[in-house]
Structure formats: structure tokens, C-alpha cells
Chain length 229, copies 4
């Protein structure tokens, strides 16, 4: 089970974004704007920023998530998002004798497949222990560990980077595990910045067009039909 905790975030994220946007078009300074803007003005401006995609102003607020219960399949994909910061539990330094693992639903659903998978995980654990006892250091024993092995990671992204992450990873075409993570992160981000992340999500939902071409899941066409009705 993926566990996502929003550990910290820039305080007053929507006020900060609105202030930064306002500064570009105003003779006043940032401090003055941050203080003087009413809640209503912030609300209206954030809605406009999101709609217009004035994305650079969203970079001023960042969100730090603690993530557990995910596989290294997921983190190898996650860390490919380069406009973000990561600190990950190291298999070089942390012993993995009692590793947990992530069981994909298509395997969990088939009893035979599940048994095969779990037996293998036990085999791997045994091999890791055996190699350790033979004097192989942790940094090399880990070569036997499976992609399924559970890992923990702290991720910080600013709101612009998060929006892009949601565009790609909330998409039905994204791999199921990172999609589940993306939705949990979105849920947490929305709680502290509901206006900013109101329409955040897969490209079709957030930007009104689907970049998947012939690989589309069809959701976007459905959305368009609904709108036409």
C-alpha cells in the first residue's frame, strides 16, 4: 500500500503564486502585494493563472512528500522527473534482510501467479541472506534484489513541476503504480492548495487535449462528446 505524506510545503501557497503573478504587472513591491491582496483577489487571480497557464509563477511554491510502500520500478521512473529533488533509502547502506515487496494486481489476481511470485521473493530473500553470510557486502548483495522490492523516498517538487508530473502520471496510459502515487500526491496537494490544483491531473483533464495520439485511452474523446451534448 502506497503511503504518501505531505511533510511540508511553502506556507500560503496560493497567496504566494498570486503575489508573484501580480508583481509582473504592478508598480508595487512583493511584500506590499502579499499583504494587501484580499482573499478574493487571490482566489480570482489563481483561477486566472491556472486557466492561462502562467506556469512560471507556480514555481515559487514547493511541496515535500514522504513516500513509502512503493517499488523500485516506480522510483526508477519517478527520478526521471528532473525538475525535482530526491532523497532515497539506499540499498548500498541499508540492509534488506527483511525487505517488503510490491505485488502487481495482475499477479495478485491469479492465485497460481501469486504463489509463484511469493515463492520467488522468499528465494531472493534467502539468497540475499546467504550472500551476506558468505561475506558479500550489502552494496553487492543488493544485485539479487527484485524490482518489486519496497523503497522509501522523499520528493520535493514545485507546483509547476507537480502539474506536469500529474499531466503525465495521472494519465490512464501511465504505469499503474506511479499513477496510483500521482493521484495520492494530487489529493494531498489539493488539500492545502485547492484552487491551484483544482483542475490538475492528466493532460486531457488539465489542459484540454490528449497528447497520446493513436495510443489514447479514449477518455478524452468521451470528454469531448459529453461537452458537445
Amino acid at each position: 500500500m502506497i503511503k504518501v505524506t505531505l511533510l511540508e510545503h511553502t506556507p500560503n501557497p496560493e497567496r504566494v503564486v498570486a503575489m508573484a503573478a501580480r508583481l509582473c504587472y504592478s508598480a508595487s513591491g512583493a511584500e506590499e502585494l502579499a499583504e494587501k491582496m484580499t482573499d478574493e483577489q487571490v482566489e480570482k487571480l489563481v483561477a486566472k493563472i491556472v486557466q492561462m497557464g502562467h506556469a512560471s509563477t507556480m514555481e515559487h511554491v514547493s511541496f515535500t512528500f514522504g513516500i513509502e510502500g512503493v517499488s523500485r520500478v516506480l522510483t526508477h521512473q519517478l527520478v526521471r522527473h528532473r525538475l525535482a529533488s530526491y532523497s532515497q533509502q539506499s540499498q548500498r547502506y541499508v540492509a534488506e534482510h527483511d525487505f517488503e515487496y510490491i505485488l502487481p494486481p495482475t499477479i495478485a489476481d491469479k492465485p497460481e501467479a501469486k504463489a509463484r511470485f511469493e515463492a520467488l521473493m522468499n528465494d531472493i530473500r534467502k539468497a540475499y541472506d546467504d550472500l551476506s553470510e558468505m561475506g558479500v557486502p550489502k552494496e553487492d548483495a543488493r544485485y539479487v534484489l527484485a524490482n518489486a522490492t519496497e523503497t522509501k523516498i522523499v520528493v520535493t517538487m514545485n507546483a509547476r513541476s507537480l502539474m506536469h508530473f500529474f499531466n503525465l502520471r495521472c494519465c490512464n496510459r501511465a504505469q499503474w503504480e506511479i499513477r496510483e502515487l500521482a493521484y495520492k500526491m494530487l489529493e494531498q496537494a489539493k488539500e492545502v492548495a485547492p484552487l491551484l490544483f483544482k483542475n490538475a491531473g492528466a493532460s486531457c483533464v488539465a489542459t484540454g487535449h490528449c497528447p497520446e495520439g493513436a495510443m489514447t485511452c479514449g477518455k478524452f474523446s468521451e470528454m469531448i462528446k459529453m461537452r458537445v451534448k
Copy 2:
């Protein structure tokens, strides 16, 4: 006069950095670490992180500054720091009929030079007004504005990026205006994260070596001599 205001920053910045560093070497998750670490443990670990230069963990905390009273000489340098986010007052959209300007000390110190400079600024203001009256739009009238023209900008950097900024811009070899800005930003950052920024500053001070080679200001050699004594 440069005015720097720390508008917002990641709450508990030192605890966040310590937690992220700890996570890499621990079997526990981020939330648990963030809660369980004592203030003493945080202090000790931050000191170690800074000393060892475990820089990636410093990226999880960011600082948003409102900056006023600086020239476009300064901002053209500032925005060259690419691992940062900017929102700047636009000369395309904001009228500059009453622009302020930054007077360099070497000019301020010479009455004749100062008079020459100020007369020119008045000339420029007059030309800007004249062109506006002739129907030239703001986005083109601004072509006459001087580098000295005052501008306002909001900057967000994470602690790692800030450290690097201080390395380069607190250096005696940096241009005087951006150096003044850097010291003011450092002062503000230190107030909310004193351990993290304790030794921050020019490369010689922060990293114990001077990269300026033959162009060195000599401060580093002085430091070395002091230590040897």
C-alpha cells in the same frame, strides 16, 4: 537601497534537511523520522551535512525573497542562475514615467560625475515621456531606459542553489550590487536556518578554497595565514 524580504520559506527547514539525509541511511520512513528526531539530533546532523557537503538534501527546502531597489544590471546577472524561479516587474506592461534608479558608489562619490549621471537620468525620463506622447507603446519606449533603472523581482531558490549563489556572489570579486544583494539574502536566510547557513558565503569561507586563481582578492591567502598562526 536594496530591500530584501524573506516572504516565505519551507517551515522547519533544518528538520526537513536532517530528515531527508537520515532517510537515506535508515529503515524508517520520512514521517516517522521527521517526528522522532530530537532537536539535538537535527542540529548534529545538519552540521555534518554542511561540513560533508551532502548538498542534495538541502534541495528540499526553499526560500522566496521579495527584492526591490535593484537595477537591471543586477537582475540580468541574477536571472543567469538557472536553478531558481523568478517573477519580475515587466517594463513591457508597467509604465516607467516615474522610474527610480540605482546610483553606483564610484559615481556617487564624485560630485561632477553624480551631476552628470543625474542629469542624464532626467533626460532619459523626459525622452521616455516624449516617446509615449508620440504614441510609442511602453514595450518600445523602454528601449531608452538605462541599465540603472530600478526593478522589482521575486526569487525562489532552494538551499543548495542559495549556497552556490552565495559562493559566487558574496565573493569580493563579484560585482558590488549583486554582492550587496547576496549578503542581504544570506542574512535573512540565516535568521530562519542558522545552522544550515552558518558557514555560507563566498567560496573561500564556505568551502575552504578560492577558485579565482590569479584573480583572487587575497582574502583566502589571509585566511590561510591566520590559521597557520
Copy 3:
């Protein structure tokens, strides 16, 4: 007059992009793919990459442009593109006694405005010289120089970053000077990678949607109408 020269670029840019894209879905290695792919296969794959927006593969090829005859209005905007590399002629180190300047068309078109503008440029040149003679160093004398002052810059961007640059800066809503630059860069890039940059340009042309909302120039609506006919 803006002068743009494509100084260097990754050789065989389209083959490199195609090879990188192919590698993701193939059991073969990069060298083998780079050698074995026929020109036809490269062409077909590049067309597909562009259409699907498989943007990450475009990052493997980069383009280095020498740019002259542009103002510091332009470069202050240009260097805000952070996924790029810059080396710019320094006003701190290079004397500007004989600076050239960029004359905006809206000023050039009005004889009176043009005369006012040119007289001011002469004034500024005179002030720069006077201050230099009074012993003011170059790094401070430059505070009087106008935004219009000509500068030179070398820019390197990879193809993905260039595509994004063209999306924003070939747009009719972009400022005229940087738009002119963008079109000249696009022209040069197209000469060496015609398939890759075939549809590159403003968002409406390249991605099939206009992000400018209420500020749209209307070109996109025109495009849509044309298609419907």
C-alpha cells in the same frame, strides 16, 4: 539587424533522435541501431516522434547559435529560458564607447520619435565617455547604457528546449524583437534538421492549440476555420 549563425550542432541530429527513440523499445544497443537504421526508417520515426511529442529523445541533439545585433531588452528575456546555455559579451569588461543600438520599428516609423531617440543615444554615449574620463570604471559607467544597446551572445539549446522556445517566442503575442530572433533561429535549425523542425513554431502551429486564452491573436481561430472548410 539581427544576425544569427548556427555555429555547431550535433552531427546527424535526426538519426540520433530516431536511434534514441528506437532504443527504448528494442533489444538492440545504440551503436547497432544508429548504424542499421535506413534513412527511410529514420524519416518515418522522426515524423512519429514529432507528432507524438516524444520530447525527451529530442534532448540528445543540441544547437549552438552565435547571435549579434540584438538589444539587452532581448537578452534579458532570452536568458530567462533556463534549459539552455549562454555566454554573453560582458559590459563589465568590454568598453562600450562605440556601442550600437537597436531601433524599435514603432520609433523608426515616426521621424520625430526617431530623432528624439537618436539624440538620446548620442547623449548617453557622451555621458558614458565623460564618466569614463572622470575615472568611473566600465562596470559602473555601464549603468547609463540603454536597454537598446547592442549585445552579442552565444546560445546552446537542445532540440526539445528549442521547440519550447519556438512555441513561446514565434507566437504573435511575443515581443517583436525576440520573435524575429526566434524565426531566424528556426530557419537555421530547419536547414540541418528539416524533419525535426518541420512543424516547429508558435504553439498554435506546432501543438494545435493556443494557450493565450482571451489574449489570443486570433490566428488559431483562423486556422481552425480554414480546416473546417
Copy 4:
């Protein structure tokens, strides 16, 4: 066996870097400088750039490597270098029935450990095949694959980013597999840009100081002693 191929790189890399550096301090444009500089001038300037660490000019040249025969232990570390571009063979789309694997030396050296490791790899291959036959899709069957599984990747870095990569990964404290990769990449880069990469390598060699503190391998102290003699 790691196989590294330098697939493409910016032509005339040292001339480009020298030209970019020269431009900052010259009244001439890039094209003129690129043509007029003699080979001797280029050599002298590159040596100075490297010594002074004028790193930004090194960004104008980039290098694209094809890499094979490495584990996913290695690539999970590699892709953490964010100022770089990657295209990696996908375990989601490419079937891994006949995967190769990387055998760590500490395991290869112990016959018993080696046998244990190889038996496990066969088990994993069998499990992957079994799950596939049970209808589990590739994207989920891959959860059983080991960290040791061979992968292929294309990497592009500019010279500045490469220098930093070598600082960290040629270090004796780096993990053995990625260190081996780093040395092979350095070797290839040196062949086409010998002056630029002349002193490239671990921090101690390249920058003259060791950032590893109490964790130092001792090589730096040895270097210092040699110099004192």
C-alpha cells in the same frame, strides 16, 4: 562487460568552448572569433578555462554515449544526474526472457557465492517466463527481475555536467560499477577533447580538494604528500 560508445558530440568542442569564453571579453562576434582564433590560441584558452573553472562555457558542447552491459543498479544511480538526457531500454515494452545480468566482483570471486547468484538468476528467468505464460503482462512480470539485470541506455551530457559527473563517480568512494562506467566515458571524451578533459576525474584530481571528509579514501592525502616532497 560495460560497453561505452561515444555516438556523437559537438564538432570542434575545444574551439567552441574557447570561442564562447572569448566572446564574453571581446567586442567581436562569435562567428568571427570561431574563425579567427588560431589552434594555439584555442589551446591556451582551454587550458585557462579548465584551470579557472570557467564552467559555463563548457556547457556549449555535448557528448552522446551509447551504454550497454550495465545493471539497473547503475542506471538508477546514473539517472539521478539531472543535468543530462536519457533514453533507456524499457522493461515495460521489451521482453526480458533472455536477460543478461551483471555479476559483482565480490560475488564472482567466491565460487560458492557465484553459484548461488547464478542459480537465482535462472530461477528469476524461469519465474518471468512462467508469469508471462500465465498471462501476466511484461510491465508486471518485470517486478521479479533483479537489480542485476542488464540494461541499455543513451546518455547525453554537456562538458560541464560531465566534469561534475567525473568528480563524483571517478572517486574511489563511488560504487564500483558506476565508477567503471565513468572511467570509460572519460576515456572516450578525452579522445575527442584531450585538453578539456586533461585533468578531469575525481574531485581530488580535478579540483585539488577532497570533499569526502572523514570518509576519504586517503588518495588525496597521498597526493598532497607527493607534492610536498
